[in-house]
C-alpha cells in the first residue's frame, strides 16, 4: 500500500478531513468516505457525466480525478443544491418539466446545468445542449432536460429582477 495523504476538502460548505490513499478517486471519496451518495458513478470511463461535481465552481468528472488532488479545494455535489430546505430552481425545473425518468443521470445533469447558468444566465437552446454535452441521458431524449434548464433560467431571472 502506498503512503497515505491527509486531505482537507470543503464539501458542500462543510470541511471534511481524511487520510487517503493516492489512488482513491474523488467519486469514491464523496460517496464512500464522506457518505454523500447523491453523486452517481456511471460509466467509470469519463464518458457519461453522472459523476459530475463542481471543483472550485467548475464542473469536472469525479471518476477521473483523485481525491488527493482535491486537497484544499471546494466541491459542490447535488446535496449542496437545496438551500434552506427549498429546492434549487434547477431541481424544481427538472421536477416540473419531467427532466428525468430513471433519474440516474440527474445529479450530474443538475451540476452541469448549474455551471452553465452561473456563466450564462440566459442560455439559448443550443447553449444548453452545449453545456450538457458531457452528460448522457438514456431516457429522456434530452428535450425535457432542455425545458427544465429553461424553466430554471426563467425562474432565476425572476428572482433577480423581483
Amino acid at each position: 500500500m502506498a503512503s497515505t495523504h491527509h486531505i482537507r476538502v470543503r464539501l458542500n460548505g462543510i470541511e471534511k478531513e481524511a487520510e487517503v490513499e493516492p489512488r482513491l478517486l474523488l467519486i469514491h471519496f464523496i460517496r464512500d468516505v464522506a457518505g454523500q451518495t447523491g453523486t452517481h458513478l456511471g460509466c467509470d470511463t469519463t464518458s457519461c457525466g453522472a459523476c459530475t461535481v463542481l471543483l472550485d465552481g467548475r464542473p469536472i468528472k469525479s471518476c477521473t480525478f483523485f481525491a488527493v488532488q482535491a486537497d484544499g479545494r471546494e466541491i459542490l455535489t447535488v446535496e449542496g443544491l437545496v438551500q434552506g430546505g427549498k429546492l434549487h430552481p434547477l431541481q424544481e425545473g427538472f421536477h416540473q418539466e419531467h427532466g428525468l425518468q430513471c433519474g440516474f443521470c440527474t445529479p450530474g445533469m443538475l451540476i452541469s446545468s448549474l455551471a452553465l447558468l452561473e456563466k450564462n444566465p440566459s442560455p439559448t437552446e443550443e447553449d444548453i445542449r452545449w453545456g450538457i454535452s458531457g452528460n448522457l441521458c438514456r431516457c429522456t431524449g434530452y428535450q425535457n432536460i432542455v425545458k427544465a434548464v429553461q424553466h430554471a433560467a426563467a425562474k432565476m431571472h425572476e428572482g433577480v429582477t423581483a
Binding site: 503512503s3 493516492p22 478517486l25 470511463t45 459530475t52 477521473t64 452541469s112 453545456g131 458531457g134
Partner: protein
C-alpha cells in the same frame, strides 16, 4: 475501476519536478489534467509507480502575446484556451480546436501541454500546432530547449521529450497580416476522438495570393501529419475553389489512416479530402477579413 497503487508527489517548482523525474526515471509520470492518464491507469494501460502532480506549480497556466509569439503555458486548461478572447479573435484555429476536445467537464481539467505531450495521434492540438509551425518548450535539468512541433511527434505515443523533461510552454508565431485558419473535426459524438480532423492556416498577400500555408491532419496516421505537398502546392497561388480542391486531394494522399470502429481507411481518406476543403475555405474567408 481503481488504478494500481502509486506514490503521489506534489512539487512546488519546475526544478523540483524535474529532479523527481530524474530520481524516479521511467517509473514516474507527470500528472497534469489527468484526463488521458487517469483513464489509462484505470485500464492498466499505464502503471506509473510515481505520479508527479504539477498542478501546484505557480505560473504554468497563462495565455499571452509576447513579441513574436503567442505563449501558452503547458498547464493551461482547454476551457481557458476555449474561453480566451485573444485566442478567439487572433488565433481562431486554436479556438476551433480547443472547443471540440472531449466535453466541457474534461476541458475544465485537460491541459494543452498534456494534449501534446501525450503523443496520441487522436489528440487535436498536434495538427493545429503543425499548421501554425509552433514550437514547444521542454524544461529539463539543463533548463529550457525549444522543439519545433514538426520534430516533436516521433511515433504513436512517443514524442521528442526526454523522460526527465516537462512541456512547459507552447509558442505560436504571431501570424502576419491577412492570415487565417480553421479546424474541422468529424466525431461520432461529443467526447469521441476524431474520425478525422484537419487544421489549415493560410497567409495571403495584398493580391490574394497565398504566401504561406500550413495543413495538419488528426488521427489518420501514427502521429499528427503535416500535409507538406498540399502546403507547397498552395504557395504562390490564388486560393479559388479549384486550387483548394486540388490541395485537398493532395492532403488526402498524405494521410495514412487505418480501419477501426470509426470506419474503413477509404472512408477516412475521403473525409480528409472534404475536411481539408472546408478548413481551407474557412481559413481563406478569415484571412480575407
Amino acid at each position: 475501476m481503481i488504478p494500481p497503487v502509486f506514490e503521489y508527489l506534489r512539487p512546488a517548482t519546475i526544478p523540483e519536478a524535474v529532479s523527481l523525474l530524474q530520481l524516479h526515471g521511467e517509473d514516474a509520470k507527470i500528472l497534469s489534467g489527468g484526463q488521458s492518464l487517469i483513464p489509462m491507469m484505470k485500464l492498466r494501460l499505464a502503471r506509473p509507480a510515481w505520479l508527479i502532480d504539477i498542478n501546484h506549480i505557480p505560473d504554468l497556466a497563462y495565455i499571452r502575446e509576447d513579441g513574436r509569439y503567442l505563449k501558452i503555458g503547458g498547464l493551461t486548461r482547454e476551457a481557458d484556451v476555449e474561453g480566451s478572447d485573444l485566442v478567439r479573435s487572433k488565433y481562431p484555429i486554436i479556438h476551433d480546436t480547443a472547443r471540440v476536445i472531449a466535453d466541457p467537464q474534461v476541458r475544465n481539467l485537460a491541459t494543452i501541454g498534456g494534449n501534446l505531450a501525450h503523443g496520441d495521434p487522436a489528440n487535436d492540438h498536434g495538427a493545429t500546432m503543425l499548421a501554425l509551425e509552433a514550437e514547444v518548450i521542454a524544461t529539463g535539468v539543463n533548463g529550457e530547449r525549444s522543439i519545433p512541433v514538426q520534430d516533436f511527434f516521433v511515433s504513436i505515443f512517443t514524442t521528442a521529450l526526454e523522460h526527465d523533461e516537462i512541456l512547459t510552454e507552447i509558442r505560436v508565431p504571431v501570424p502576419a497580416a491577412r492570415s487565417g485558419g480553421a479546424y474541422f473535426k468529424l466525431e461520432r459524438k461529443v467526447g469521441d476522438f476524431a474520425t478525422a480532423a484537419v487544421a489549415a492556416q493560410v497567409t495571403l498577400d495584398s493580391g490574394d495570393s497565398c504566401t504561406k500555408a500550413g495543413i495538419g491532419l488528426t488521427n489518420v496516421g501514427p502521429t499528427p501529419i503535416r500535409a507538406g505537398k498540399a502546403e507547397a502546392f498552395l504557395r504562390g497561388k490564388k486560393l479559388d475553389a479549384q486550387t483548394i480542391a486540388e490541395a485537398a486531394r493532395l492532403a488526402m494522399d498524405e494521410s495514412q489512416p487505418s480501419a477501426d470502429l470509426r470506419g474503413p481507411a477509404e472512408y477516412k481518406k475521403g473525409l480528409v479530402k472534404e475536411l481539408t476543403r472546408r478548413a481551407l475555405t474557412r481559413a481563406v474567408e478569415r484571412a480575407s477579413r
